[in-house]
Symmetry: C3
Subunit: 341 residues, 3 copies
């Protein structure tokens, strides 16, 4: 009975520890096809080799969130198997595009710990890095989770990392060779370029998707995410399976194509909160708010910072009078994407 | 709120307009695997490189209906987002085989418009063409839909295109190099060759498949078809999601393997009607009727014209006493396929 | 109505008959991606080209059970369409690794027949072999099924094949080039090597997965398995769809990663029983018992013989007081896997 992985608890993390996560993963066109069946993803750069080549890339990379989910999935057995809550993300940066045939590995460094006052749990901060088979880092992000502390050992020294509120535009990495100088907006699906968006502009993405159990489980397994709450209907007293927060992220991002078709590549994750749990039967909708606009050195390539909100009802206020997320809000994500100027 | 695509309405179509559809799409073995998981597709030519090579092709092409769905999906945001009904197909021809790695684009020409007498809607005819990355057309077909007309502008001049009742056998395109001279019927799955089928013969394909929400949504998204009725359970008062008609086409075609295993490649779509809506929980069955038989210039390759009927119950009469489709009939499709002589 | 395959009945099998099964199948990265979405499969050798190359293989092969399901699926229309029960497996051996791009065919030899005393059915034994496009056998196994006998012809001479109770360790085939001399247990996911397992040791794999209709149908179709009981909810009076036994095998094997992450490649199937039917809504759990341990000639490569039991409840006794399988037991499988020493 002792051979299975019980996961780490709060006392198993020390600042400075580096965890090499298991099961390197080769991505093929198969994972992309599955992703496109699971989400209404329509980004032209992630759908067509020809379109990507016209944008200066060697071929169509896999969707940016495939990279994220693959790396994230590897961390689950080591970071969040005993997590009570997934508290936040920061300083996420996509560092290199991932192509079919690439193999990804992941490692995490513990950069912060803080025991809760109840002594029964604590917060752990890790910086996770995904790397390809050439030793090139493809993604880096900070995540913090609340983890149970079953033992009664002394509290570790509190270390709370200083995290940027957002990745600076000057720190965004544009993939090698990317150019939007010869961008075909007709093939991309919408005419709106960076200059057409205004700070504070809110876009209702209109469409809704009702979620099924089979779909979120297929998605979550695809990333080798093993957290049992997503799969085992006997785990909760109410018989519900909690949907992987990343499923909501990908669904909302894909829905945002309608109004943001030219927000082509996610290059930074500034922050994010899974505001309320999502279950099968919920109908996910999304809206976006333009938070910032910036230039990049690449030809014709600008950057747009967006707040992406997923709800399980109609477009509503993000927060109620107490400042808490409204009950219908599932996700509040803050990211940078590249867009033609 | 104005950045999202509201779709075109009747007054937005003029005869002669050419619409370039967005989001070119590269097809890989991943899309094929997904297709084979969604439908009981067993055509040997579409399953095996070795079998396809013995038939003179460089490799196994993707299933003919993958080409159809991919091209059709691209047209949805421009043609059928506000469609009240998908009225018919005609003059469909597969012009070149599509292989993993190919990238497809689509464009449509408006070839007919006719406002309805109520002034609130009209019929639009488009001829859609799919093209690969080499500039070679791979598929062409006419579709007509009824579209809403919210405004009260004057009616356009009525133009009703002349459409062939069926593609003539002499107009069928046989893929380059295809030969059934060395055809292995054992590996294909059935001994029946073209000469074994008689005009008017009816084949009950025996098997049934009960449809799930997750499956039809995976399928519809895979083709980047964005019509919200397929995904959003809050869209209709009864909470049902209307199943994409193409899902029924592919299911029925795959079921028809049992009795038509050698009807290898669809090369023409003569016509088709989605007779009644299909919903999750329906059990789809299919039967075929032999409508015509013809020769082609390729070695050992004949053509069979088939009526393919999908029902959600047992084999029944196609039409009731009034000439309307019986309530259990989902699909009435008329196509040509290539078969060894 | 006579063109469809009605399947073979007991009188259609004679000892010595060789059946070439239809529809050769090319496997791509797409089938692997689909497999990894359907099951929580995490074997590093089957996930990463880089990991497989470090183990001496040219690339990551497809999961061993993909080979099994693909070959098995081909046999269904000829062997088990009219089967009343799938009675057992024996002498299964994986003979060569299968890589994306390979095309598999299958043939079966009838090696035994025994009419039941009621005269209405009989048992048929077949030895099935899967072969790749180079003419190399990749898998061989014996299966026996009970098949209906609608006619009243005389009983054939009873032939019961002698079958090994287990494949001898000396008969296991290690894939060409495989070496665990430079095995990275961190990347594989667990530290336990062959020497860490004891005969009789029982491992509870802890996790559970609740099964959905859409998932088992996707899986079963992916292998072109056409048995109608899996797809047609109108087939049984209770409206339930019987889940393909292979779906339970793959689910249990994938769950066994947790505690057996280094049991990398299945190389032999000694026996197996589908103890009770599985239906959507069941939550599958698994436990393993170590039955034997052996050496192989390959560097650092040992073999572990395991009993893998899938249940639809908690870990229970395998059999009740009468020696029958307990009602919650779904699967009792006996196999050999390769593991680093």
């Amino acid at each position: 009975m002792t051979k299975t992985n019980a996961g780490r608890f709060f006392e198993d993390y020390s600042v400075g520890d580096v965890i090499t996560h298991a099961v390197p993963r080769t991505i093929s066109g198969g994972e992309r096809a599955m992703y496109h069946a699971l989400y209404p993803a329509r980004g032209a750069l992630y759908s067509s080799d020809a379109f990507a080549q016209r944008c200066g890339l060697p071929a169509s990379p896999v969707d940016d969130l495939i990279t994220f989910h693959t790396v994230f999935g590897k961390t689950v057995p080591d970071v969040s198997l005993n997590a009570v809550a997934n508290l936040g993300y920061a300083e996420g940066r996509w560092l290199a595009a991932v192509y079919p045939g690439d193999t990804l590995t992941a490692r995490s460094e513990v950069i912060g710990v803080k025991q809760n006052s109840n002594g029964k749990s604590g917060v752990v901060w890790v910086r996770t890095t995904g790397r390809n088979q050439h030793g090139v880092d493809v993604l880096s992000y900070v995540r913090w989770v609340m983890v149970r502390k079953p033992g009664d050992g002394p509290a570790p020294e509190t270390v709370i990392p200083e995290l940027a509120r957002a990745v600076a535009a000057s720190d965004l990495i544009v993939p090698d060779g990317l150019s939007f100088a010869d961008y075909d907006a007709t093939l991309a699906g919408e005419p709106h370029r960076l200059g057409d968006y205004k700070l504070g502009e809110v876009i209702d993405h209109v469409d809704g998707v009702t979620i099924e159990e089979a779909e979120h489980m297929l998605a979550t397994r695809l990333w080798q995410n093993t957290a049992k709450v997503h799969f085992d209907a006997t785990h909760r007293p109410d018989g519900k399976r909690l949907i992987y927060g990343g499923h909501v992220i990908s669904m909302a991002r894909a829905l945002s194509f309608n109004g943001l078709a030219n927000a082509q590549m996610i290059v930074a994750l500034n922050g994010g909160a899974h505001a309320n749990p999502c279950f099968a039967g919920d109908t996910i909708r999304a809206w976006s708010e333009v938070l910032d606009i910036a230039e990049t050195p690449a030809p014709g390539v600008g950057a747009i910072r967006l707040r992406l909100v997923a709800t399980k009802g109609a477009l509503t206020a993000l927060r109620d009078d107490d400042g808490k997320y409204a009950p219908d809000v599932l996700l509040d994500l803050d990211y940078w994407a590249l867009m033609p100027v």
